[in-house]
Subunit: 388 residues, 2 copies
């Protein structure tokens, strides 16, 4: 395989963009990423759109050709890639493969989701399409409900208090304050989190990633492309891996660990030839606080049942052992579902470029992002290194 | 890039499968393709699901993890790829890139669509998601209506009679009789076609590909994989290319040619290092008769305005100059939207393996399939060669 580099990255702030349509969000992020890369947009040969719900929320498919057309890129190869909440990461993975293959030299990715304009479906029903419609959704459960099962079992098995899990949200909100792209740039206290309305016992409102609109975009290229257009600063995609687990939570032998994360990680550290302890900055898929905590364990940063300790002891903050979600994570930066995996890579890039402002991790060179689809039915892992 | 081979292929018959769900169709085709490849299913490292409408017709996304789980493949990397009616071809393209990249050695593709069970949407509204929802669909036009514009302009510009275009359907139905996987295994006369009910002037019912359910599947592998598991018979994917055009028909400078096809073709003949005249057997995306005729021109088999002559003169039949849709094409084999691009490759493989029965093209070694999304918003081309 050929080496793959990221030379451009951009995003829209996440929020309720009532005046921007799905395509406008996507085109804005995409053209800004192309400008950030400093390339002629005619160099882009393929476009990968990561999106989960445009069919059910906007009545719109064929996003590849749609976004290409509106970005003035009609002609390029273009596709939509879907893997539920991991659609963004999956799109980056396909873009990575397409450059690694030697077929494409310069490829763009855009992750986009518009959740405020939900025409035929409501957002909760649409999100539930990530789980098994015939055997699970019909019971009336929601994604919050499924994650609540994981949460409840985690507390029972390891004798952990809700405060210890819920603290993950406090951390993310603290990190988001300095991030101009974040949906919620304000701190919340642990008291506020555990006293916020109950959504699905034990999950509280402030433990859930919000609904929002946004688009993030990357430009990837090959070494051959760089020979024609060399760079002073450069980030390499050291690893891009994906794995699945049994789709439905209730069919898994263990609720409190996500096999898909562990499988994707095993492949990723091998591909990148790194140790997990080498990572300077981490992005985890905290759609709910419990997923953030479990992921810290699945990635090997804590023993099982002890991921929450890293948060309690401040080890996830810049300067700590493993700075995590340093720009707010899903909880506070926001979680426009199919865009999230791309936002995670965008946030890593800000750290690796030294552009993370107040939350900068000093000397950050190696970053890892973990993106989940469903309750861990899919996991995508990316490892990036600043090479100069 | 590494060379890519197809070692397994299978499909379900296309029809109204009231007793088989989306996942059952997909799993049936997938496991049969794995058996056809003669491999242990644990060798499969990634799964690409080509599908357009599961979100709007079944309320189900996350098909990668869903199909992987139900096929007993949970753990593999798995994704849904969408490019409207070219979703199947797009999934094959991603699978091709993933093997070419060197990351995956053995990959499965399944194209699947279930159009008879349409829960939240009707099929016509769902298909219209391939066009621009905000600027085109709201006018009330349908896909038949858009293709009717192409048809009308083609007849006007080139002084062609409807009979000459409509004959494409007669050909496809004749070819389907011998295909046990075809939805309509019966001949229709030209009189029946041009006197069938008018759908969108001038398009008649029997000029439209039908609505149906089906799944087709392929197993692709690398040369490294073949070293461990050598084969007496082998088909290579010589080229896999994709291109887009301006999404909406009314914004294009010329209605009667599909730029996406021409762009994908240009890349494909270069990648495969062939001349278009070398092709022994052809699959074209005849969602409507007019698209079959225009495609024969866009691929260079006829001058513009004269594609219909190849049909009239019998050149598209086995034994003719360019045997086309020899197992029935979209019109009579069927068109389960997101599966179609995979069915086309499946049909080519039957010819290249010498398993096309009565319609066998003697000595067929080189095949080309063209898959369209929307009215040519996307085009995917695959070129396959029997190498032994």
């Amino acid at each position: 395989m050929r080496k793959v580099y990221v030379i451009g990255a951009a995003a829209t702030p996440i929020g309720e963009h009532w005046k921007l349509s799905l395509r406008e969000l996507a085109v804005r992020a995409l053209l800004t990423a192309i400008r950030d890369a400093g390339i002629d947009k005619r160099d882009v040969e393929a476009l990968y759109v990561g999106n989960m719900s445009s069919g059910s929320l906007q009545g719109q498919e064929h996003l590849g050709a749609l976004v290409a057309t509106w970005a003035g890129l009609a002609g390029v190869a273009a596709f939509k890639v879907e893997a539920a909440c991991a659609s963004g990461g999956a799109a980056v993975h396909q873009a990575f493969l397409s450059v690694a293959s030697g077929i494409y030299d310069c490829v763009a990715v855009v992750g986009v989701e518009k959740m405020t304009d939900a025409i035929p479906f409501d957002v909760t029903a649409s999100l539930m399409m990530a789980e098994d419609q015939e055997y699970v959704a019909f019971t009336g459960t929601t994604f919050v409900g499924l994650n609540a099962m994981v949460y409840r079992e985690y507390m029972r098995r390891y004798g952990v208090e809700q405060e210890d899990v819920a603290r993950f949200a406090v951390h993310c909100h603290k990190m988001a304050v300095a991030n101009p792209y974040a949906q919620f740039r304000r701190e919340v206290s642990l008291e506020e989190v555990v006293n916020s309305p109950l959504i699905a016992d034990p999950i509280r409102l402030l433990e859930c990633a919000p609904v929002g609109d946004g688009a993030a975009s990357l430009v990837l290229c090959s070494e051959d492309y760089l020979k024609r257009d060399p760079r002073d600063e450069l980030i390499e995609v050291l690893a891009s891996t994906a794995a699945t687990d049994i789709l439905s939570v209730h069919e898994r032998p263990d609720l409190t660990t996500l096999n898909a994360t562990r499988r994707a990680l095993e492949k990723a550290v091998k591909q990148a030839k790194i140790e997990i302890g080498d990572v300077d900055v981490l992005e985890v898929h905290d759609a709910f606080t419990i997923l953030g905590v479990v992921t810290l364990e699945d990635l090997g940063y804590a023993k099982r049942g002890e991921g929450w300790r890293l948060v309690k002891e401040g080890e996830v903050e810049p300067g700590g052992r493993i700075p995590t979600n340093t720009l707010g994570g899903l909880k506070a930066r926001g979680h426009p579902v199919g865009a999230t995996g791309v936002y995670q890579v965008f946030d890593l890039i800000k750290q690796l470029r030294g552009e993370a402002g107040e939350n900068q991790v000093e000397g950050a060179e190696l970053g890892l992002a973990q993106n989940l689809g469903g309750v861990g039915g899919t996991a995508i892992i990316h490892i990036l290194r600043r090479v100069r």
